[in-house]
Structure formats: structure tokens, C-alpha cells
């Protein structure tokens, strides 16, 4: 069953691209983010590289845990799940 999932982004990303909090449908983190990127396509390249993997210094949390596989983003989500896209503490300059 497809749940309604909230997607939040680190405030630091707003310096680069418009990325408002939004509710989307999905059964996995991957589906939920795809649904978000369909509405806000400019955000995709800030979070995923061109091979579809989460960027090395971006951390994604769902249900309170960091996603298990940043390549597939296959972690399941349910109605009410909150996804947080944060920046890792590595990668800063």
C-alpha cells in the first residue's frame, strides 16, 4: 500500500535550490524521492549523482534511521514516514 510520506531537506540546501517540504506517495525511499523530484526536478542532481546513487556527502534518514543502501534506496516507507535529507559532516570545505 502506498503511504503518504513527508520529505524534508536540510536548510543548507535551500541556499542552492528551492526544496520545500512536501508530502508524496511511495512504498520505498526511492519511490518517495522520485515522486518529489517529479515535482521539483532541479533538486535531483543535488541529492543523487548521474548514476542514481546518493551523493557521497549526503545522508538520508527514514523512520529515524539512515537508509541502509544509498545505491538502491530500497528501505520501505509507510503512511506517516518522514524522510530527512541531510548533509553529512564529511565533505565540507
Amino acid at each position: 500500500m502506498r503511504g503518504m510520506v513527508s520529505v524534508h531537506f536540510t536548510a543548507n540546501l535551500r541556499r542552492h535550490v528551492d526544496c520545500p517540504e512536501m508530502q508524496v506517495e511511495g512504498t520505498t525511499v526511492h519511490e518517495a524521492l522520485d515522486a518529489y523530484f517529479a515535482v521539483h526536478p532541479a533538486v535531483r542532481s543535488y541529492i543523487l549523482d548521474e548514476q542514481g546513487a546518493v551523493r557521497r556527502h549526503v545522508a538520508i534518514f527514514a523512520n529515524g534511521s539512515q537508509v541502509a543502501d544509498p545505491n538502491t534506496l530500497s528501505d520501505p516507507v509507510d503512511d506517516g514516514t518522514e524522510i530527512y535529507v541531510m548533509q553529512a559532516l564529511s565533505g565540507g570545505t
Binding site: N12, L13, R15, H16, V17, A42, S45, Y46, I47, D49, E50, Q51, A53, R55, H57, V58, Q87, A88, G91, G92, T93
Partner: protein
């Protein structure tokens, strides 16, 4: 031709625009504060400027300034890595990433709206629409030599120099750390690797392998485009045949190591370099920042220190940290410790413009 009155300085924390005023150089404004700016190019005809941002966390992005307003345009992106791709880092055997990790150099093309971008991990990209879209040049990416490239200073190889022959829109040369220098005379359809460089980081017998050279920076003389200068990892080289072959300049005071190079736009015998001790000691020789200048094609060099700090300086000048304007008289140089210097007399005397900028990636007169 630039007239040396406006300067772009790309730093680890923003893009600074400085103007020559009656009381000296002054910062006019700062774009992208806090963001790594890794490459810039300016089109004097249209007034447009492009900047490559590293962003630290969120990938490489290109922004374009039209009539004073910045907007994000397309970024160089690699195609899906084929499942059977077998390109690996020769040092670590890790699979080469097919994702843009650094926009290392931006240059204008010969045609309207044409731009070139050299990247880490080694892809050369071209835009034909002012940066809106980019195309990986498969002619070089798929070349049988490319899997032999390896990182120099970074984990992955990269293209840091793209220099066009102003006489022929189809001729260009690129420099790869570490993958040698390559020349195309058919609009990037095919490539020939340069010969004549020597790598003392390779075992005896392999030092001349052209595909494993580490040219740090290639620059071309605008008036005599067959002449190029090459600050290499372990030496200084010059070409008189458009970069097809190189001759080593074995003696250069105070050292032959460095990253940056600048060539006089009208005089192929005059060039400037920013030496450091050597590869495992990347600081100024004897703590004295200097510029090495030749005016006789590399036969002799002057060591220019007037106005530059020492003997307790630790500045290093990166590949794109030295530039000369269209007159050949005005030079700018920026360091990793955030010092910016200017010379109005070909390097004879320098003034400190600012000693407290973020680490400087590049300087560029516009």
C-alpha cells in the same frame, strides 16, 4: 583580449570580483559566498560569465551570469556506467566513477555559445548552447589510453587545461593529470597523444610513457599558437608544434616544480611560473614566494620576488592561480593561503592586494 582592469578570483568560499580603482584593487562584490568555485570563464563579447561550483556536499553545478543575474544551467554529467565497464584506477583497482566530481576548467569554444569543461574523473565535455546542455566527448573518454590514467593530487584523473588554437576552430589541446597531453585537429573527433614529457615518478624505462605524464598546466601563446608552455609535475616543458611534442627545460631557478603557468599573449618566448620546492615539499623555496620568468624561450629565468612575502611564507599557487592580461604586463597570482598579488610591470614588482582571502583556486582577468 582582457585589459587587466577586472579580475575574477575563484576561492574555496566564493567568487570574488575585483576592480582596478584609482586607489588600487578593490573587491567589488562576492558571488556564491561560502561555496567552492573551481572554474570560471567570461565571454567579453556577450558579457556572460560561467562558474563551476563544487558545493562540497551536493555535486558539481554550473551557473551562468547574464546581464548581472546568475542562474543555474546544466552541468556535465556522465552516461550510465555500463555493467561491463572495466575501467579501474590503476593504483587502487577501484572502478572509475562515471560521475562528475570536479569541474576543473571552463573555456570558451571557437564558436558562439560553445564551451568546454574539463572534469575529474577525466571527461571532457562540450556545450554548444551556452552551458544549458553538455556532451561528454566520447572520442577521448572511450580512447584506449584513458583507462591508464590515474589521479594526480586527487584520487581520480582529471582534465585541467583546454587550450584552443585561435587560427583553427577544430584544433585544441588538453592536459590531463595524470594522462598526458592530447591534441585534436578535427574538432575533437580524434586525438593524438603528445610526446616528449618525462616522469620521474615512474620507474626507469617507463619515464617517457606519454599516457602517464602529469602536466600540471598547459598554456598557449595567443599570437604564436604553436608555442605552448607546460608546468609538469617534475619539470618545465615547451612545445613549438602546437603541443604535439615537448622539449624539457631542465634548469629553472629556483626549482622546476610548480603548478601554475602563464604565457605572454604576444611573445612566445616569455612565460611565468610559480615554483615550489618539489612534489613532496609543496612550499616556496626557502620560504620566499617568487615567480620565475623567462623572456628567452626558457634559456634563462629571472626569479622575481620584489613585493612578494618571505622568508617565512608557505603559500602555494595552484594550477589556475596565475594569469596574465592581454597586454602581457599585468599579472595576478593567488595562493592556497588566501594571498592575492598583482603586478603591473610583468612581474618586476608585486603588490599584495589581499592576504586574507579564502584559499584561492583560480585568478582570471576579464
Amino acid at each position: 583580449m582582457t585589459n587587466g582592469s577586472r579580475l575574477l578570483v575563484g576561492t574555496r568560499k566564493g567568487l570574488f570580483t575585483l576592480d582596478a580603482t584609482s586607489s588600487g584593487w578593490a573587491i567589488d562584490h562576492v558571488d556564491f559566498p561560502g561555496e567552492p568555485v573551481t572554474a570560471v570563464v567570461h565571454d567579453a563579447e556577450t558579457g556572460r560569465t560561467w562558474a563551476a561550483l563544487g558545493t562540497g556536499h551536493f555535486g558539481v553545478h554550473i551557473w551562468r551570469n547574464d546581464a548581472g543575474a546568475w542562474s543555474e544551467v546544466g552541468a556535465p554529467t556522465y552516461p550510465p556506467r555500463p555493467a561491463d565497464a572495466n575501467d579501474v584506477n590503476p593504483m587502487t583497482q577501484e572502478p572509475n566513477p562515471w560521475t562528475t566530481m570536479l569541474g576543473w576548467v571552463l573555456e570558451q569554444g571557437a564558436r558562439p555559445d560553445e564551451l568546454w569543461c574539463g572534469t575529474i574523473p577525466g571527461g571532457l565535455f562540450r556545450s554548444r548552447d551556452g552551458g544549458d546542455t553538455w556532451e561528454l566527448q566520447r572520442s577521448l573518454w572511450d580512447h584506449e589510453g584513458r583507462p591508464g590514467w590515474f589521479g594526480g593530487g586527487y584520487d581520480w584523473p582529471g582534465i585541467h587545461s583546454v587550450t584552443l588554437d585561435p587560427r583553427d576552430p577544430d584544433t585544441l589541446a588538453v592536459g590531463v593529470s595524470c594522462g598526458g597531453a592530447w591534441v585534436s585537429t578535427d574538432d575533437a573527433a580524434t586525438w593524438t597523444i603528445s610526446t616528449g614529457m618525462r616522469a620521474d615518478f615512474l620507474p626507469p624505462g617507463e619515464a617517457q610513457d606519454p599516457n602517464r605524464q602529469d602536466p600540471h598546466r598547459l598554456v598557449r601563446c595567443a599570437a604564436e599558437p604553436d608555442v605552448l608552455w607546460n608546468q609538469h609535475h617534475n619539470g618545465c616543458f615547451r612545445s613549438t608544434d602546437g603541443g604535439r611534442s615537448w622539449v624539457e627545460i631542465e634548469e629553472r631557478a629556483p626549482s622546476v616544480f610548480g603548478f601554475a603557468a602563464a604565457c605572454h599573449p604576444a611573445d612566445p618566448n616569455t612565460a611565468w611560473f610559480a615554483p615550489a620546492v618539489k612534489d613532496e615539499m609543496r612550499v616556496p623555496v626557502d620560504g620566499q614566494v617568487c615567480v620565475s620568468r623567462t623572456t628567452d624561450g626558457g634559456a634563462t629565468f629571472d626569479v622575481l620576488t620584489n613585493g612578494l612575502p618571505g622568508p617565512d611564507a608557505f603559500d602555494l599557487v595552484y594550477r589556475h592561480g596565475l594569469d596574465v592580461d592581454g597586454s602581457g604586463e599585468r599579472l595576478a597570482m593567488g595562493s592556497t593561503t588566501g594571498s592575492l598579488w598583482f603586478s603591473g610591470n610583468a612581474g618586476d614588482r608585486w603588490e599584495t592586494v589581499n592576504a586574507n582571502l579564502p584559499p584561492i583556486n583560480l585568478v582570471r582577468f576579464i
